[in-house]
Amino acid sequence: MTTSSVPATARPAVSPLRPFLALARAEVVRLLRNRAYLIPALMLPMLFFALWGLPNASGKLSGVNAGQYMLVSYAAYSLITTAMYGFGVAVASERSSGWWRQLRIAPVSPVAVFGAKITASLVMGLLSFSALCLFAGLVGHVWLSAPLFLSVLFRLLLGMVPFALLGLALGLLVGPDAAGGVANLISLPMLFASGIFIPLEVAPDFVKTIAPYLPAYHYGQLGWSALGAVQGAEWVHWAWLAGYSAAFLLIARWAAGRAETRR
């Protein structure tokens, strides 16, 4: 240990990689140990697929195999909730806890802190998508080929961004205690109205009218387009998601500033 007198120069900051890896590892460990969150998050999509996907697995939806179509639907549901709750709401509630203050006084950049959270959400997304695909294959003989698996995975992981920001904005707006409930209130109707819980082909007319304005609709379209179920240009859906991301980011920043001045 060095002794007494204060050198004029400060010690160098840590390279950003080591704190990022330590934080990301800790986030993943916490995630895997949190069974109250992990088990329902993995099981519910499987349950929904077993109830609604398996009985219709051999039919056709939007011109493609209905089993694969609904596998993508419930994967979309799973990753939307992971992004909204596992990232957004969790970050908003941790932010108001003392732990983030403790991190702010350490010589670590916020990029590493957020990067670790994002990494954990991506790991969780990968885990739940893989588990659902395995379940669909083993139980229902609904398999995605490896290129298809990767193509759907890429779209669904990248498309999580607006939902993560939505959860964050909600958490910051209504506070950590109410955030979970409000997120439910928004995500469940949105999932029903976007064709993710019920295919749009069998949905009521007013749902068909509002669906194209919802982020979850465009998210679903991106997933299904990997299967060839969607006609039209894909970039339109990416553009909608990017627009929603920007809007939710602005709301989250505004809410964060508001929360800061109220402290």
Partner: protein, 304 residues
């Protein structure tokens, strides 16, 4: 430029409220200073500024010769904040190890745990710790980065006697290694024993600054205790009392600047009084006198 902390003309306003006004303050390397003051005096505001958590409305704050808002400066600072809600799901060892990875030259996790008296709890989940153990965990987080400046906000609150003893033992070891320490506390006896320097803040201003002894002497208070048959009204009528506590069975305890006058008056009013005791006031008496706005400010304490 040997000051670990240097405030020059620092003011901090929150809307219409001035939490700190035109504060000058230097902390010398190796000192253990106690920052005292009633709630709302500006202690936590001053610590937040040293940690780079906020920026002063005016004036400059330098810590370790640099701006504390820069990450490279913060790598030399460790702090124990008032309430940390540690993330659930990790063990004590894992959490301290995680925090160590954020610093360029941390001490070993084992060393930090032993300084904080948490070696036995290393494998325990952080969510299962008691209130006092959580304070010790907070201490382990504060020291694991091997800071040159340690800022401790209410470190011993909620600690039991053993916890406090382990804490002061840890502080002594860090000071031997040359660490500068600033703490806030309401436990004035601990301050009297351990601090090199006491800085008393009131309403955002320094009202006294010096060794515990010199602060006490500057206030010039004594404590007078005796047992008598005098009524409460008669006790209150005695001259020169600043504060009066009336206890069981005729016990009375005064703080006063003029003990001779008070004792003379008490003896003539109650010749039978017994158990007379005149002592130099405690640091707590001095502190109350310095921060009590009802009383006239002691002239000598204004110089700081």
């Amino acid at each position: 430029m040997n000051d670990v902390v240097c405030f020059e003309g620092v003011s901090q306003r929150f809307g219409p409220v001035a939490a700190l006004s035109d504060l000058d303050l230097e902390l010398k390397a190796g000192q253990l200073s106690a920052l005292l003051g009633p709630n709302g005096a500006g202690k936590t505001t001053a610590i937040d500024l040293m940690l780079g958590l906020s920026q002063p409305t005016s004036g400059t704050v330098r810590v370790l010769g640099a701006d504390p808002r820069k990450p490279s400066t913060r790598s030399g600072i460790g702090a124990m904040l008032q309430d940390i809600n540690v993330p659930a799901g990790l063990s004590v060892r894992e959490l301290v190890g995680l925090y160590a990875a954020l610093y360029p030259q941390p001490m070993t996790v084992g060393k930090a745990l032993s300084l904080a008296g948490l070696t036995e709890q290393a494998r325990q989940r952080v969510s299962g710790l008691s209130g006092g153990q959580k304070r010790r965990l907070s201490f382990a987080l504060a020291v694991v980065g091997q800071p040159r400046l340690l800022l401790l906000d209410e470190p011993t609150a909620a600690m039991d006697v053993q916890g406090r003893a382990a804490f002061w033992q840890g502080i002594a070891e860090l000071r031997e290694a040359g660490c500068t320490v600033l703490l806030t506390t309401h436990m004035l006896e601990e301050v009297d024993r351990a601090a090199d320097r006491v800085i008393v803040l009131n309403k955002g201003k320094v009202v006294a600054d010096g060794t515990p002894n010199s602060v006490r002497e500057r206030v010039g208070l004594s404590r007078v205790r005796f047992v008598s048959t005098l009524s409460a009204a008669q006790l209150h009528a005695l001259p020169g009392a600043e504060t009066l506590d009336i206890g069981q069975a005729g016990q009375a305890s005064f703080s006063t600047r003029t003990p001779e006058t008070l004792v003379r008056a008490a003896l003539s009013a109650a010749p039978e009084l017994s158990n007379l005791e005149v002592t130099r006031a405690s640091l707590e008496d001095a502190f109350l006198s310095l921060t009590n706005d009802q009383l006239p400010a002691p002239a000598a304490a204004v110089s700081a």
